[in-house]
């Protein structure tokens, strides 16, 4: 029954790529508008120091957003990223304290994160559970593991060698390494997602899993590896956090998953799978970060922050729903 309506609308329909770039342009406009308004409201906003602080604040989370966006595109979701970030940090920290050199310890931390992803991927693809429940369980289990490893107390890592701490605290030509790493990760995966054949399969699987199977794509393999990728990037973020803070707290990263998912969704990733861009998700992250920074500079109580972020998410999803309803 919709065929006729669709045929009728075809002439004026905006296409896929345009819709995505429209969303990104819209986000840029909103972010710029906020920045301009804030530069009048607060003299401290438009300073390199503040920008650096904002970039730093979302750079490490931004690495996790990259993995989450790809997972959302394949039709999955990962609630465990906050716990995995923390576990990677705690495991690396504990291994360092046990005498391992920090680089090897970090690699093991990232490897363990990948294994957690593989375990979730197993439950999703072989057992047949959905991502939501699987990662909800993983979130709780891995958080428990953090507490077990640390016996509940933060690990003090001030003995980390300066060369390692530099990852989180140093800079190159006044640009922090953290930001450089973030930019490199984003650039690589944004490029791969647009151009690489392997990542095209992520879109097919998320858009219509059955049709993908009927095109000879092994959708379970795709879902498995994307789940592993998301956890691995969370593990990478955990190690960088460790270098930045010089400590590993077993409660770190609680609630982080919500911020990450919100950023990806504001940036255009659909919870139904099949759509999303990394650039958009990073813009979503940037918007949330600018808003947080503005609230602080305007001296608005931190208690308001979560409420306002939640409202932004709701607005973004509503706009998306409206655009989608018009589409079909």
């Amino acid at each position: 029954m919709h065929a006729e309506i669709k045929a009728a609308g075809a002439v004026r329909r905006i296409n896929f790529a345009q819709l995505a770039s429209m969303r990104e342009a819209g986000l840029i406009v909103i972010i710029l508008a906020l920045c301009i308004a804030m530069s009048f409201a607060s003299p401290h906003f438009l300073t390199w120091g503040n920008f650096r602080a904002m970039l730093m604040s979302f750079s490490i989370e931004g690495i996790v957003v990259v993995g989450m966006t790809i997972l959302l595109i394949v039709g999955g979701i990962d609630l465990s990223v906050g716990s995995v970030v923390c576990f990677s940090m705690v495991v690396s920290g504990a291994l360092f304290l046990a005498g391992l050199d920090p680089w090897t310890a970090s690699l093991i931390g990232i490897g363990v994160s990948a294994l957690i992803g593989a375990a979730m991927g197993f439950f999703v693809t072989v057992i047949g559970l959905n991502h939501f429940i699987t990662s909800l369980a993983a979130m709780v289990i891995v958080r428990g593991m953090c507490l077990v490893v640390t016996k509940g107390t933060p690990l003090s890592l001030f003995t980390l060698p300066p060369a390692f701490k530099a990852i989180g605290q140093g800079s190159f030509n006044n640009i922090p390494y953290v930001i450089l790493i973030f930019v490199v990760v984003v650039a690589i995966f944004d490029f791969l997602l647009r151009r690489a054949t392997a990542f095209r399969k992520v879109f097919y699987t998320g858009s219509n899993e059955k049709a993908a199977q009927f095109s000879g794509i092994r959708t379970n393999q795709v879902k498995f590896w994307v789940t592993v990728l998301c956890s691995t990037l969370a593990g990478l973020a955990g190690v960088i956090y460790m270098a930045r803070f010089g400590a590993a707290t077993p409660t770190f990263g609680a609630g982080m998953e919500l911020n990450i998912i919100a950023a990806a969704v504001i940036g255009g990733a659909s919870l139904n799978g099949g759509s999303g861009t990394i650039f958009g998700a990073i813009l979503g992250m940037a918007l949330l970060s600018v808003v947080t920074s503005s609230l602080i500079l305007l001296d608005i109580s931190v208690y308001w922050q979560d409420m306002i972020k939640g409202c932004i998410l709701l607005a973004a999803v509503s706009i998306d729903h409206f655009l989608h309803r018009k589409k079909s």
Binding site: H2, A10, A17, A196, T197, G216
Partner: protein, 511 residues
Amino acid sequence: MTQAPILEIRGLSKAFGAVKALSDVQFELRRGEIHALCGENGAGKSTLMNMIAGVLQPDEGDILIDGERVSIHSPAAAQRLGIALVHQEIALCQDATVAENIYMAAINSRRAPLMNFQKLYADAQKVMDLLAPIPVRTRVADLSISNQQLVEIAKALTLDCKVLMLDEPTAALTESEAQRLFSIVRGLRDRGISVIYISHRMAEIFSLCDRVTVFRDGRYVATDPIAAVSPDDVVRKMVGREITQLYPDKLAPQEPGRLLLSVEGLCDGRRFADVDLQLRAGEILGIGGLIGAGRSEIAQTVCGLRPMTAGTVALDGKQLRLRGYGDAVKAGLVYLSEDRKGSGVFLDLPIAANISALDLSRLTGPLGLLDRKAEDRQARELTGRLGVRMAGTDAAVSTLSGGNQQKVAIARQLSVDPKVIIMDEPTRGIDVGAKVEIHRLLRQLAGSGVGVVVISSELPELIGLCDRVLVVREGRIAGELTAGELGEEAIIMLASGVQDSSTQRQAHNVA
């Protein structure tokens, strides 16, 4: 005695944005008649139905019920006026039982705080049994598509309606189910209920309906008593041009081509057993049989989409060892799914990406990167060859009409230069014009040496298009019919296993 028609449409127009879906159409439904509404996809039939059912609002014009102007502002208002619509697409609650679905509207308007399940099941079973003995305590999700369609119809039967609109009710039904539906619809007519019947199948229209109205491009063309026109007349009015030949010429009887596909003793341990099948170059092999007989399962198993427990598949003389569909595609054996929206196309992805999905490796460079220029070139070439009407190769497939979506799905199969192409219901739910184009294309492919297998529930299609037809019954090949033996009666007899021609539908072949 002149009585006002039960439903009359005067000067109705509806536009979606700049496009006029209906302009100044008229329609008249008499009390106690079955009135066919015909037209190609995009002619405006569904738009009209949706306006009568209160789903859409007209821009201009009047709807009269019993001679009085009414405004039908919601589906609930339509229900109060005694209008019921059975959608072409299934809209049931998948996780509720059949009974709960059938009485959804009634449950919704009931005041009692508790459900009386005993009565609900008993009443629902009575209605359901009129159509088919489907147990009403079953979850809808566990039913086949054709049974879901029957539930959808049963749901409409429970509404106390004066006007019943059926939008392609038989698209997913088997022959015998369709027959049962027809006798029920006739029974309703005899009780004074008026029926609007939308279908692409001329045979049904001519055996069931009293009058026929044709729409074309959103305009009213004509209304005639069915006795005064022939199927050819109706098709001509629908298309607005002469379709000289609905089906392309068949293979001239000559020496058979090289053996392309040979299947022996295929079993899957569940749905079918001992299937033998041979396909020669240049021919179109049809596979007929009732829905649920195992036709799709056989085809999917041949292509490695489902596991086999015994048997061999040989392509072009070479035995295939399939670990998955990917292997079949590499060998040159492709399958087109019957469920276009569910598993045929990626609705929100661009046309070019839809076409390239089957074999990305041929578009991939040495670094694992996709050559998007080549992808676009391939899409333009194939859509051009198949005559896909579209805004551009980067438009989402959801923007296309059903027929064009199907062409995109076929383009994907052709993108790998297959040796054998198996098509499951290649023309289901698409309009006459696109159907003819697809049939011609299949014949062309066969002519160029590609092996073509067509699974179809439409008897005229099997008879008109195929050189040879295998009929499947309950998971086994019940028989083979060669060109000379092809006929509706012969196929039905093999498919149902009954040697009785009285179950056969009146054979009005469009061709």
